[in-house]
């Protein structure tokens, strides 16, 4: 759900991310609000970041996500901490995943929702609180 940049929000900080997502609403990765993602460590990344090559070429929004995801984060956490709308964050994460910089871990359960075994675990987890 990424709207048109036109007049979507008068605050300039908000307009730019819409512009760079180019109005795309389709993404290959399943990115629910609770989906976990993390930055991929690798020679490519270290080279790029220290040499400033990749970091200089890409949008600050991409860099911010890669920085933030040095810890495991959910899509919603990224959106909240970077103050970017959910739809925008999803497209950017999707792009980063395509580039191999972010790994999408998924939710660890099927798309149809939690099964009985998972519900039982949640139940006992809540009882321990």
């Amino acid at each position: 759900m990424v709207p048109s940049p036109r007049g979507a929000d008068r605050r300039t900080s908000r307009v730019r991310p819409y512009t760079l997502t180019g109005g795309r609403t389709q993404f290959g990765h399943v990115l629910l609000v609770e989906t976990f993602v993390a930055t991929v460590d690798g020679p490519a990344e270290q080279l790029a970041l220290t040499a400033g090559d990749w970091a200089e070429r890409v949008m600050p929004e991409f860099r911010a996500i890669v920085e933030l995801c040095r810890r495991m984060r959910s899509v919603a956490e990224i959106s909240a901490l970077l103050r970017m709308p959910l739809g925008v964050v999803r497209v950017l994460i999707s792009d980063l995943a395509d580039q191999g910089r972010i790994r999408v871990y998924g939710t660890g359960h099927g798309p149809g929702g939690p099964d009985r075994a998972l519900l039982e675990r949640v139940l006992s987890g809540l009882r321990r609180l």
Partner: protein, 202 residues
């Protein structure tokens, strides 16, 4: 950019630093009208300071024809507060508070995908505010319960009073809770998960 402050403040969980594998991630949605206590509910049980995420929406699909002419009249931002509970190092539960107005339904479709279920939060002074949420969850088949947030100094009703007033079917749990109290919110979550289990095929 430095987010160490955020992690420090809320206590870093072990699973956050283990990037090789992710915990199982699941969620519960809390829906209700404005001022019913969704943020309080989330905050009472979350291990982190509740965070706010925004989704951008167009107000009504039937108005799409006007999009080109008056884009800034029908685009608006909806804020959702959410919290997190690490139940085990490999099991994390998110609790999302979402506005209950009918015009946000498009957003719910996206939000409720894969959810355990929903708690519809109600205020006895404004019961009608939760009608849209009840209608929605009845329609989707997602497991839901009703939790009445008992505000101080308001008349006390029983769960059965509220069930009758809202015409909630007999198999749906209706609880009276205090959204400020952690134990009370945990009880509401337990009730929802238990209810979701009864709706699972054996």
């Amino acid at each position: 950019m430095d987010f160490a402050g955020f992690d420090q403040q809320d206590g870093l969980q072990d699973w956050q630093t283990e990037r090789g594998r992710a915990p199982i991630s699941t969620k519960i949605v809390v829906a209700g009208g404005f001022g019913v206590g969704k943020t309080t509910f989330v905050g009472a049980v979350s291990e982190i300071q509740p965070l706010t995420t925004e989704a951008v929406m167009t107000q009504a699909s039937e108005a799409l024809d006007d999009l080109g002419a008056t884009p800034d009249k029908i685009t608006t931002t909806v804020a959702m507060d959410f919290g997190r509970i690490t139940l085990e190092q490999d099991l994390v539960l998110y609790v999302f508070g979402t506005p209950g107005q009918q015009r946000f339904w498009f957003m719910w479709d996206d939000l409720v995908r894969g959810a355990i279920g929903a708690v519809v939060l109600a205020d006895t002074r404004r019961l009608a505010d939760c009608f849209p949420a009840l209608d929605y969850f009845e329609g989707t088949g997602l497991p839901y319960t009703v939790a009445v947030n008992q505000f101080e100094g308001t008349p006390e009703y029983t769960g059965e009073d509220v069930r009758e007033a809202l015409a909630v079917p007999a198999h749906i749990p209706v609880l009276i809770i205090d959204a400020r109290k952690r134990y009370s919110v945990v009880e509401a979550l337990l009730s929802l998960v238990a209810h979701a289990m009864t709706e699972q095929p054996l």
